[in-house]
Symmetry: C2
Subunit: 420 residues, 2 copies
């Protein structure tokens, strides 16, 4: 009987450490050649399975695979593609099973957020029902840090570090110039539904007067009057005001600040994000000169400033996923468990996919200060270890050298798939 | 006779390495205690001299001064304040001279761009005329890289490295997702008058298909049709298109792209920068899903990813400035001279302030490819060594530890100054 093969796919928005999980999967699988045949990666995620575009990772050198540990984004391609429910699109699931069967894939490792864990769970159920049991293991990933059960999500710690470092540095810039120039700086960060990323930026302020002075969370309804008063107080007290705003900042009635600007003179939807909106709100009311930045993808791709803790955890969940699969586990996801020690320690735990799928973990209100504009010491205790340690990529000629894979595709065995 | 004192000031927009120059100045001066008395730094630049706010750097520990080498922004405060011509505001120059005389300041080291070199030159002339000769030495600084004579300006190499690293990383992110999501990414960088910074981002593309695919320079008049065609070609060929746009991108008639959007529905000047404008132009014409980033101050404050070459040069010009002053030189600025060797070598040179002041060095057309959308190999040869090497700051608990100075002010000797 041929050895069972393994299929790994990256799903949804990528992170600076999702390839570290891929590295953990492939390196661990290579250590178990007696139990695992080929390790396939889906070209562009699950779409690669549907189209039978299976990258044969066996064609990649050990050096290339090792380089994945320090390469940001999704080296095999990811996708925004959510499988519908089994009832809605039975054909799609049947196609997946046909591809898995044709290539003797008995291990399905899906690296993504809540939606992806749901998909992995469904594939598990279907494979049982279709009498071709596949060990389905989820691998956690999301910069949004919103998966339940796991203490944190690989990808988050590095974004957290990026935003904290960035606002510390930009804050010093503004502090230097505020006497005669810019007095307000606004940095927009990701996190449409929860303020995890915005909150982590708060780590940068260690002493009174340090940036950021104000954080605008999605969890706290924006109160313009209160906000402007706080800005004015900061400028009077410290000479300037550095603000971190979550892209999800809103009025508490479902309306995002970023959507509030309406259309421009040409009838276009306003182009700016929430940072320019907030900056302009201040300018109009208080007259302060401002600058703003929108980090966008720079923050989640910033492997050059990744958290060493995050990289280790990303690798560890990839490694654990293979070990879970080999142990005969199914429909589970490795998690990060924080040990109740004074010094930060973590270990790998396990969660059922059915408990993880489609559930968002919100940031507790106890992480936000009473006035709603900063983080509490409880939040600091939670965030601080996640950004600890530096894990620099290798540089050549001043630039980080990231993996370049061959991405050789396995020969197809099935007819081309036509989505219904 | 009391030993002559030294006055150092930071001027204009700060950089991630201007404090390395300050470190070079102070550490070198401390090695010559027999010739230099106190080393003062202006609180908020030249304004500190006018207001007699002189920071006594002698109160700072050797550790604090050493930490300046890896601290971004202006640790003593900078300012946007240009002295008028002597004819226009004689009183201001006389006040400067009065402060210098009161505190026995015989060395004036001014760390800034073209305007500042002009000021230093004027102070030199005036001090001669007023029979209180002061050795005036300029120290080059500007992320814009637009000072003449010097091969490069300290501050530029680190911004160059930041933008090249950032577009490489974000490019990988977009490449991962482009099959089913974002196809166009636009990153806005500084450089209102010249494309030095935008051009340096081009270093990130080493092989065909690498980001950035398109660079929009201030030097090349924006041609919408040609640009859109190029974007479409990239998306068809590589699956996505990563664009770097200079804030100074324009139509060739003096109108900036960023200013072209007019006013929004409330009559406000459009909030977005040039990145959202370019992204939206593409969306409207070609329908591609886009993301955009505006790095703003993050780029010039990003000490965490500074170029080691840049840090060394910033320190060296600070050191050289003190040595020039001690050698009795006046009205000169240390420069970076590129040796004509195959491997990059540089040494300190010297330029007259009168040759440096108020002259902008533009990027040569030979640095821009024929189609106007990328850099040439001549540009790569120039840029590459400037971003070489990493010079990481010290981290504690996951965050870079930057100098915190006492900034103790010298006792005032003069009456409060009232600007006319």
């Amino acid at each position: 009987m041929p050895k069972p093969n393994l299929f790994y796919a990256q799903s949804g928005g990528v992170t600076s450490v999702i390839n570290a999980s891929a590295c953990g999967v492939i390196e661990t699988a290579r250590k178990h050649r007696s139990q695992i045949g080929k390790v396939y990666a889906g070209l562009n995620g699950i779409v690669g399975a549907l189209n039978e575009n299976l990258i044969d990772t066996g064609k990649e050198s050990a050096t290339s695979i090792a380089a994945l540990r320090s390469t940001p984004a999704g080296a095999f391609g990811s996708c925004r593609y959510k499988l519908k429910s089994f009832e809605e699109n039975q054909q799609e699931y049947e196609r997946l099973m046909a591809v898995f069967r044709a290539h003797n894939i008995r291990y399905f490792l899906y690296n993504g957020g809540g939606d992806s864990q749901d998909t992995a769970n469904k594939v598990s159920q279907l494979s049982q029902a279709m009498n071709f049991p596949i060990s389905c293991i989820g691998i956690p990933k999301t910069v949004d840090n919103d998966l339940p059960i796991t203490d944190t999500c690989p990808g988050f710690g590095s974004v957290a570090k990026y935003v904290a470092v960035s606002i510390r540095e930009a804050g010093l810039d503004v502090a230097s110039m505020c006497e005669s120039s810019t007095k307000v700086f606004v940095m927009e960060v990701m996190g449409r539904h929860a303020g995890w990323i915005a909150g982590a930026a708060g780590l940068a302020s260690e002493q009174q007067g340090d940036a950021p002075h104000i954080i605008l969370f999605p969890e706290i309804a924006f109160n313009k009057e209160k906000f402007l008063k706080k800005v004015q107080t900061c400028v009077r007290k410290f000479g300037y005001c550095a603000i971190v705003v979550s892209e999800g900042a809103n009025y508490g009635n479902g309306q995002f600040l970023a959507d509030a600007g309406g259309k421009d003179a040409f009838g276009h939807v306003q182009l700016g994000g929430v940072a320019p909106f907030v900056a302009n709100t201040i300018k109009e009311a208080l007259g302060y000169k401002y600058h703003w930045a929108v980090a966008d993808y720079l923050q989640r791709a910033a492997r050059h400033i990744a958290s060493a803790t995050d990289v280790e955890q990303a690798y560890a969940v990839g490694q654990a996923a293979v070990e879970f699969a080999l142990a005969g586990k199914d429909a589970v996801m490795p998690t990060i468990v924080r040990r109740p020690t004074k010094q930060y320690r973590w270990e790998i735990g396990e969660a059922k996919l059915s408990d993880v799928a489609n559930r968002e973990k919100m940031m507790p209100r106890s992480f936000i200060s009473r006035d709603g504009f900063h983080i509490t010491s409880a939040a600091r205790d939670y965030f601080a270890p996640l950004i600890a340690g530096e894990d620099y990529p290798f540089y050549k000629d001043g630039l980080p050298q990231y993996a370049r894979l061959k991405r050789a595709l396995e020969k197809k065995k099935l007819k081309k798939w036509q989505a219904s």
